[in-house]
């Protein structure tokens, strides 16, 4: 009963979000996000039909569509990158760099882990989804760290998008890890927790994306120095001097 309620509420929220998108002129602005949402809605409605008509096929259907939406979920991250960081080329460069480092580290980990930990293997679909969710979680964490460090302002639409998707990833990652560790005994809780967390995300999106709220633009009229190297050289020379003072103080 609870499962059906959660599922029904989710579909209703998705439909409202999709109806609201063209009305508020959001679809053409955030098309990656709405493509993801559309695929999630089709998946949920299709899943419902499969469950009623051909219950035996549901498990297979679930995993195939889940993996498809998992990949499309990266579109949300791309949307955030495009809208939040593009006006700040320096911060965007840093994000790309740290993103590549994170992916490289995870790729290396995936190569090395089976050799040093023979029991580790991304064997099942659950483990595979858990690992991909982990990559997404690390990426969002890095992105938020960067946004905070450089004090980049985030508008209501983008904030809601990140919060909603981030929250869904947190619950998915934790429940998948728990499911992978505890085994099938956790399936009952997991089958309610995951759609419930998606409902929470949908509610956040509905509030944040009710109307268009542009991301704050940087003040382009502020006079800036032309050369980044000059700025860095100056700041670096201060740091060297500061370090020198502290070394002297330590020695004294």
């Amino acid at each position: 009963m609870v499962y059906w309620l959660v599922l029904g509420a989710g579909i209703l929220l998705q439909v409202v979000l999709l109806i609201r998108a063209p009305v508020a002129g959001l679809f053409r602005r955030y098309y990656f996000f709405y493509i993801y949402l559309l695929s999630a809605t089709i998946t949920a409605l299709g899943g419902l039909a499969v469950l009623l008509v051909w219950p035996g096929f549901y498990s297979k259907w679930y995993w195939i569509t889940q993996l498809a939406t998992l990949v499309l979920g990266y579109g949300i991250l791309l949307e955030v990158l495009n809208h939040v960081l593009v006006p700040y080329p320096g911060a965007e460069r840093f994000a790309r760099f740290s993103g590549m480092v994170a992916f490289g580290a995870i790729f290396l980990f995936a190569l090395i882990a089976p050799r040093i930990m023979p029991r580790w293997s991304p064997g099942t679909v659950i483990e595979f989804e858990r690992d991909v969710r982990c990559v997404q979680a690390i990426f969002i964490f890095g992105l938020l760290a960067l946004v905070t460090y450089y004090g980049i302002p985030i508008g209501r639409n983008m904030k809601g998008m990140v919060l909603g998707y981030g929250l869904y990833i947190v619950t998915s990652l934790m429940s998948l890890a728990e499911r992978s560790y505890a085994g099938p005994s956790f399936t009952k809780i997991w089958s309610v927790v995951q759609p419930l967390s998606f409902d929470v995300s949908l509610t956040i999106w509905l509030v944040a994306l009710w109307s268009y709220c542009p991301n704050p633009e940087p003040d382009s009229t502020i006079p800036l120095e032309q050369d980044y190297e000059a700025l860095v050289a100056r700041t670096k020379s201060v740091m060297d001097t500061i370090r020198g003072y502290f070394r002297k103080a330590e020695r004294a």
Partner: protein, 194 residues
């Protein structure tokens, strides 16, 4: 079990960063407000917090020697407490103004397409180190009194002064006319926010 702990840790880290994002108040970084703040931080450090005379006066042992030899115990205790409070306040102010200048650097650097991530990371660690030194000094003073680390006081004052000089160069492009214009704009945006 290790795997489970790892994934749960990643989840908790992301959840806490989302929590901070939800509670985050927009800061005027890299805007006219930030430039005016950076300028004010610089003026405040140079004119109010770092003059040698003031630093010497706050941490001067001579005053203490005099009070110790002339005043009764309760007065001596009161003197030490007051001096400690002033010293901690001074360090706190210097630290805050250094943070302001660091924010100014970040506010500028994020606009440069040529930004070097490794350089930025090393600068971030350096700024962090300086702020930590201020914290260490604050801890030393609050635990062992205002005369606990006289050399470190000198080092912090000198380092902060150096920072000011370089930051002054960084902010040199803000001549008086531009600063006036930005101050008006900052005041305008503060009014519109209020």
């Amino acid at each position: 079990m290790i795997q489970l702990i790892f994934f749960l840790t990643v989840g908790v880290l992301l959840f806490s960063s989302l929590f901070f994002l939800a509670r985050r108040k927009p800061r005027p970084e890299g805007t006219s407000d930030a430039l005016v703040e950076a300028r004010q931080a610089l003026s405040s450090l140079q004119a109010g917090l770092l003059p040698e005379k003031l630093v010497k006066r706050v941490f001067d042992r001579g005053d203490w020697e005099y009070v110790k030899s002339e005043a009764p115990k309760p007065v001596r205790q009161l003197f030490l407490e007051e001096r400690k409070r002033i010293a901690i306040l001074w360090i706190d102010q210097v630290r805050n103004q250094i943070k302001n200048l660091s924010r100014f650097h970040r506010g500028s650097a994020r606009h440069y397409a040529k930004l070097n991530p490794r350089t930025e990371m090393s600068l971030a660690f350096s700024f962090f180190g300086l702020v930590c030194s201020c914290r260490a000094l604050q801890l030393a003073v609050s635990m062992a009194g205002p005369y606990a680390a006289p050399r470190l006081v000198g080092a912090v004052a000198n380092a902060a002064e150096r920072t000011c000089k370089v930051s002054e160069q960084s902010l040199a492009f803000l001549n008086a006319a531009q600063l006036g214009m930005l101050t008006n704009r900052a005041a305008g945006s503060a009014l519109s926010r209020g």
